[in-house]
């Protein structure tokens, strides 16, 4: 038996974040994405290289979904915590941003003679913003809320749930209950978040006109940057020892305790991080899509997020990104191309993916790659 050398073993733990090929892939996709808004800005409509604005808007939205999917994959793929309620974090982040945007709109309207309150508030007969809206006119504070509100909720909820050792479907179902309850709460007008209609009709962000192509491009690039940053961070995280402890917790939580790790903290960290990322995704989503309402908290929406991850390949980081893109892309395409039959196509897709691609799309890609590599090796040999 040959004993592995120290350096061999160290090399094993200090793998590069991504393989060079992966880096190249990510970089090229990112570059293409980054160019799209430029093509939109620089080339006039009708030019061969012109990218229509709605395509940019669409991809911006997909990237927000991808970010949420990535966040979900961190907890589901690596910590085995299936959340059927991640929509709540997405929505809370979105609402935090929406509050800022709504106030900006209301303030602009006030200059034109409006009451300075959003319509739904004046309608309720309120004369001033309720306390929980304080300071939301400041962008920085809104950003803080984007991180803090989902993070805090996740922390508190997670702390009690993980402390009670709630696991598996029990956890999944209470997250579902949580988001469902929140949705009902936000449906109410009195809650002060615009009821079913939610927030819409945003005009400006940070003094910039939201409908201006330049602002849109900036938001797009910001989303792309956050997405890439998160991908790298997530990769670093799951490759670290922390990541390994996490997967150990996923596979054998009790055993982990006996070697001296307390799973509570490990789960709580990733859970809170995931919620925050999801909140950021929501915050990026709102100005680009132009609406946030309680339907984002509907259980079905959270289930859809899970499905993006599963379709792409859970526990793979790249998978959720692809899954979110593919599922939503198909949905966009189908709902126009075959508005009455698209559910069959989408439903069938989900069934087929689970049966034939247990590791999702990424799993399939890996299989194909492996086969090709093997073929190559064989031809070399």
């Amino acid at each position: 038996m040959t004993r592995p050398t120290t350096s061999e073993m160290l090399a094993l733990t200090r793998q590069p974040l991504f393989s060079p090929r992966m880096w190249a892939g990510i970089a090229s996709v990112a570059a293409v994405l980054a160019l799209l808004p430029l093509c939109n800005l620089l080339f006039p409509a009708g030019h061969a290289l012109h990218v229509p604005a709605h395509t940019v808007a669409l991809l911006g939205k997909f990237m927000c979904y991808a970010l949420a999917a990535l966040a979900l994959d961190l907890v589901w793929g690596y910590a085995g915590i299936l959340s059927l309620g991640h929509g709540i974090f997405f929505a809370l982040g979105g609402y935090a941003m929406g509050m800022y945007l709504t106030r900006a709109t209301a303030a602009a309207a006030a200059q034109a003679g409006g009451s300075g309150l959003p319509g739904f508030m004046s309608f309720l007969g309120w004369t001033d913003y309720p306390w929980y809206w304080s300071f939301t006119e400041h962008f920085a504070y809104a950003l803080l809320l984007v991180v803090l509100v989902p993070g805090l909720l996740a922390f508190v909820f997670g702390y009690f749930a993980f402390r009670s050792r709630i696991k598996g479907v029990y956890f999944s179902i209470i997250t579902q209950a949580l988001t469902f309850a929140a949705m009902l709460l936000f449906f109410r007008n009195e809650t002060g978040f615009g009821g079913t209609n939610g927030f819409t009709d945003f005009r400006s962000i940070w003094g910039l006109d939201l409908t201006a192509p330049g602002t849109r491009a900036a938001l797009f690039w910001l989303t792309l940057a956050v997405l890439l940053g998160t991908l790298v961070l997530a990769r670093a995280l799951v490759q670290s020892r922390y990541g390994r402890v996490l997967t150990a917790v996923r596979d054998a939580e009790a055993r982990v305790r006996f070697i001296g790790y307390e799973p509570l903290g490990f789960k709580l960290f990733i859970w809170t991080l995931s919620a925050i990322l999801c909140g950021i995704a929501g915050a990026l989503y709102v100005p680009q899509v132009g609406i946030i309402n309680p339907s984002e908290m509907s259980p079905a929406h959270s289930i859809e997020m899970v499905i993006w991850v599963a379709t792409g390949g859970r526990g793979t980081l790249i998978g959720p990104l692809i899954g979110a893109g593919v599922v939503n892309g198909l949905k966009t395409w189908f709902t126009t191309a075959m508005p009455e039959y698209w559910l069959y196509a989408l439903g069938a897709l989900f069934v087929l993916v689970t049966i034939f691609l247990p590791q999702g799309i990424v799993g399939l890609a890996r299989k194909l790659l492996n086969r090709r590599n093997k073929d190559k090796e064989q031809t070399h040999a």
Binding site: R3, P4, R241, R250, E262
Partner: protein, 281 residues
Amino acid sequence: MRDDGPTTLIMNPEHELGGHASYGRAASSEVDTRHGVILYLDSVNVVFDGFKAINNLTLDIGVGELRCIIGPNGAGKTTMMDIITGKTRPSSGTAFFGQNIDLTTLSETQIANAGIGRKFQRPTVFEAHSVFENLELAMKADKRVWPVLGARLRGEQADRIGEVLETVGLSAQFQRTAGLLSHGQKQWLEIGMLLMQEPRLLLLDEPVAGMTDAETERTGELFNSLKGKHSLMVVEHDMDFVAQIAQQGKVTVLCEGSVLAEGTMEQVQNDERVIEVYLGR
């Protein structure tokens, strides 16, 4: 082929017991073993829906001692380990680690960090991780979230993993996924993990089940080499193995949840009651 055998495991001074403050946040104070005893169990009882699994069990283990525990199936040996490691709470009685650490109030994690390591009766390893990662995870270190987040494997730590890999004979498999190991290999891996933890007290539940005779013997040598520096509690049904490691040390026979007999291997082997309930004729 290895020629230095288990001796590679002899710890370098840095790993010496008590050399470091305990890492885990659990043990606020170092375990106090001034009386020379590392584990006290005093009139412990465990009842499972009316069934008395442990019945007024009193037992103590000295520092550096290797104690063999034998006893019929269902005598309560595994349950006793469950109590020591915090998996099961006793209905009554006390369990102390050293003089100062009350095990009945601590969580599994705290107990592990206080310095008690355990190998389970059925080998339980992290199946999705490689052999190497299993050992790395078990390695003695600060196991709280923030330190782990920043942790990187240092050269000497890798060396140590290499040593243990060799000791348990899994060097060639170090990159393999643990779930794919055979039963016996998993047993070895778990022993390796236990060694990585560098606990003061090792609890070993049937460590040689599923090993070949040759391997059993090697395991015996390994345990003998640990004796003195660590305290060990070994549960086994393989009498030859028990005889090999017990040597002149004490062997405790549990039966129906309490101590039936105690003494050297020779004494208990000739005890009529032990033959009656356990060894058979």
